[in-house]
Amino acid sequence: MISKKIPKERRIILKNADDPSYSNKISCYLKRGGYKTLKKSLKKKPEQIGEEVLKSGVRGRGGAGFPTGMKWKFLDRKSGKPIYLVCNADESEPGTFKDRQIIHKDPHQLIEGMMISAFAIQAKQAFIYIRAEFFEGAKILERAIQEAKDRGFCGDNILGSEYSCDLVVHRGAGAYICGEETGLIESLEGKRPNPRIKPPYFPAVLGLYQCPTIVNNVETLCNVIHIMDMGGEKFSQIGKPNNTGTRIWCVSGQVKNPGYFEFECGALTMGEMIYDVCGGLLPGRTLQAVIPGGSSAKVLRADERFKGTLKDGSEFDWGIEDIPLDFDGPMSAGTMSGSGGIVVMDNTVDMVEAMANINAFYAHESCGQCTPCREGSLWMKKITTRMCSGDAREEDADLLLSVANQIEGRTICAFGEAAAWPTQSFVKKFRKDFLKKAKTQKRKKNSFQLI
């Protein structure tokens, strides 16, 4: 399964990022042809840009993978209300660190992408909602925006086109839920980031300040430049049909060479990523599990077989190494590519402890608005924490699964699924480990009494 040839990265978004001669200053960006596409795009009709993006088939890079062109099409343009563009730079999914690279190393790419997108949707105002912990990134962006404003790439009357759009950096409130589209909007309005109920509050109709709003991920907005640069048609030929463009994968965990890598969608498999690109596992270790798309994606067991029929009708029978890295590949294997955060776990990892870690995260980050997620995530955390501190019971595995099932699909936002999926998959796929915990760890006498 391990190929000899190391697959080659195709860097579009991160083209300049790691070049030693490149800095995040505007001079560098301009030298490499920056803001040319903005100039070109401003001469087009806004609808044309939307058409190109739709043609490119680019899918959102934030996690859900919804086609960006479609999202823009849903925008309510008839209400007469101002339209807002928000860049979701609240990268908080454990295992993901791609947006941070763009913001730190090539902020002008994001600004250009945002201004093209803002022009395309005729936004009145654009915001970058940046994760609170990215204080350095916020500083870099603030400076970059000032540089762009000084040269007329942003702000009033952009490049003499009579289109004006101000760009503001808003520092987040330091919570995972701020990355949820409607939670982000609430937070941007200055409130607690409690996600809104949909219907009726679809951002494209009733978003920021009850006005039509588009929220896109950093990487997605950067892709808009390249779509406009090469044309939607040509962009759609990168990668695979329905999985166009490149993706930045963030690999962490027990591999020799973790990091972020930009590949064409579907250009390589999970096995190639782990063994070739990342140099394989540490000496003497074997692969136990992989989380393919950030902590909320369902975990994959190393010895699983994935069988089924692809969209084109062909049958597949994959091992974990054969899963193609694009949007549809992990989806076919019953999980998701999410935000592209691949977490590799070898045989030294105690899966119950890994589960406890993930549960602790979701219990801490649940906003507390709706019942299933609020109470369920903390309950699951309490169970797994107890299991890891010597008080595991055999029935805990089933209880965990049942609690997770009670959360999934019943919450206001997708956080419910994000909290439930790890538990569901961990317990289902590593049931033995959960049962073993109960057998090998001594239970204190009378430590459990039903309340």
Binding site: H364, E365, L399, Q406, I412
Partner: protein, 560 residues
């Protein structure tokens, strides 16, 4: 607040049955119209939809339509195919649409409800034996109706503050809070005093006031009623009474002309609390905090309990006879009160007619809060108009009585409830003029009165008040009056009988209503007391349109 389009209906399929429901209504309300309960905590018909408790999860589907043609998709039998939403949806935020299919009873729905109930209870303290809400607690009710009945929770429950003072009248038990946010939305949307909010995250979320603020607006106790659990408690009522001992009687708030509909809860003749009664045309589900405290007048220190007549005589009947003798064949002044009921004012009017005396009426005015405390601080000014007692708008003094006293010629004064000494009437002028006072609370006039006839508060009798929107609202007796006292109507009727045998009238409410409605142009024509007791009846007040009513635009009220 989901708006309802008036009159229009749509047909939905509710658990397999075709039913007509108002267009624009949500599923919780629509199902309730057809006696189907969709349990809910955070939803309240008079507040915005939050959708956070998830208790009202149900299955919903709409007829499928072909994407290209827009035609309905039919199955083999030619019946429109239903596209069921894969996830359960919340009933409170789902607006009905033509042909919508809804399942409120199914395995999935049952599973959802059991799950939510379990989640709500895992960190809820088992306080029921000492909780004020016990007996009227939605958590208890739905746990019994929709819960699993056993617990799988062995972890430690969260610990939160048990007795936070949110304001002068509200105490919070945070552990019991299910974070439904009704109180927060109420303060924002109805009371217009945004002071409540959640701090901390997830299951540790805690309800608090904003720093430096208190929940002290005059509507704060509504949050206690709104609270579906025992988290928000009334400091006044806390730990005093188990609710299942309380008898509830429908009544009307006497604080102002808003005429909030209320429920008086009493046990063994003692009132323990007053809560609002829902009336979507008058007070929605709210009332003022100050109105809730009014029950205290029933057993207050200044309550008049002992009659006074002819020196040291303390027998009520004697006092009434003495009063009659004083009033008989004299030039008297009758001072009425807008605190009297419509029926009492009618008898008072009759009394003044047969004695051919002049009538005086004073209004009490204050600040209008634009919600449910109107500028007119009497419950029945419009009742005084309809009873015929007055035709003009009362001033906030009784200078006219003072002037008439100065002029001379008055032999006696009959004061009903009012405090004339506090209304710019000179005490000197009353010297030598016998004063008969009838009322419930002690005041300077009652102190001065030669004859004192104690009467009953609105909680101790039946009657009708007419509110600012000309709604005639009847109310029931909630508690018996103090021993030895008689209803105002009976006293007045006795005095009338004593003054003029022929004008005698039975103190019977239906009879009085018959009389009230008998003049050909009477706005009360055809209405009976039972009608107004059952539900408020809008009375035509156009006759008095030109009067300078002081009320400002407020909840369900627009000044003419």
């Amino acid at each position: 607040m989901i708006s309802q389009t008036k009159g229009e209906t749509v047909t939905i399929v509710l658990d397999g049955e075709d039913v007509e429901v108002p267009a624009g209504s949500n599923l919780v309300d629509a199902a309730a119209l057809h006696s189907k309960e969709i349990p809910h905590y955070c939803y309240h018909p008079q507040l915005s939809v939050a959708g956070n408790c998830r208790m009202c999860l149900i299955e919903m589907g709409t007829p499928m339509r072909d994407r290209q043609t827009g035609e309905p998709v039919l199955d083999e039998d030619g019946v429109p195919k239903i596209g069921w939403v894969p996830k359960p949806v919340i009933g409170c935020a789902t607006t009905v649409s033509q042909g919508m299919h809804v399942k409120t009873i199914s395995d999935k729905v049952t599973d959802c409800r059991e799950g939510i109930m379990e989640f709500l209870l895992v960190n809820h303290p088992l306080d029921c034996p000492i909780c004020d809400q016990a007996g009227e607690c939605r958590l208890q009710e739905f746990a019994t109706d929709y819960g699993r009945g056993y617990s799988r929770y062995v972890e430690r429950k969260n610990v939160k503050p048990k007795r936070t003072r949110l304001g002068p009248r509200v105490t919070l038990d945070d552990e019991r809070c299910i974070l439904c946010s009704r109180c927060i939305r109420f303060c924002q949307e109805v009371a217009d005093d945004d002071v409540l909010g959640f701090v901390d995250r997830g299951s540790y979320s805690t309800l608090t006031c904003f720093p430096g603020k208190e929940l002290q607006n005059n509507y704060s106790l509504n949050t206690v009623d709104l609270c579906p659990v025992g988290a928000l408690t009334s400091t006044d009522f806390r730990f005093k009474m188990r609710v299942w001992f309380l008898k509830e009687s429908p009544s009307i708030c006497t604080e102002s002309s808003a005429g909030s509909n209320i429920l008086v809860s009493s046990r063994e003749g003692e009132i323990h609390r007053i809560t609002p009664r829902r009336n979507d045309e008058v007070n929605d589900s709210w009332m003022t905090d100050s109105g809730r405290a009014l029950y205290k007048q029933v057993r207050s220190d200044d309550r008049l309990l002992t009659p006074r007549g002819n020196g040291t005589d303390k027998i009520l009947d004697h006092a009434i006879t003495t009063a009659t003798n004083i009033l008989k064949d004299k030039e008297i002044a009758v001072v009425g009160s807008c605190h009297g009921t419509l029926e009492e004012l009618y008898l008072l009017n009759r009394l003044s007619k047969i004695t051919n005396s002049k009538k005086y009426l004073r209004g009490y005015f204050g600040e209008d809060d634009g919600i449910l405390l109107s500028a007119d601080r009497t419950p029945n000014l419009r009742g005084a108009l309809l009873s015929g007692f007055t035709n003009s708008y009362p001033k906030d003094n009784l200078k006219s009585l003072n002037n008439d006293l100065k002029r001379g010629g008055l032999d006696a004064v009959f004061v009903y409830r009012d405090d004339i000494l506090n209304s710019e009437v000179d005490e000197e002028l009353l010297k030598g003029i016998p004063l008969v006072f009838m009322g419930t609370q002690k005041n300077s006039t009652s102190d001065l009165a030669e004859v004192l006839i104690p009467s009953l508060t609105s909680f101790e009798k039946k009657g009708t008040f007419i509110n600012r929107s000309f709604f005639a609202q009847g109310f029931e007796q909630a508690v018996p009056g103090p021993a030895g006292l008689l209803p105002d109507l009976l006293i007045l009727s006795k005095i009338i009988e004593g003054l003029d045998e022929e004008s005698k009238i039975d103190p019977d409410l239906s009879l009085i209503w018959k009389n009230l409605g008998s003049p050909p142009k009477s706005p009360l024509k055809g209405i009976t007391f039972n009608d107004v007791l059952e539900s408020p009846v809008k009375v035509d007040g156009s006759k008095w349109e030109s009067l300078p009513f002081v009320e400002k635009k407020a909840m369900h009220y627009l000044p003419v």
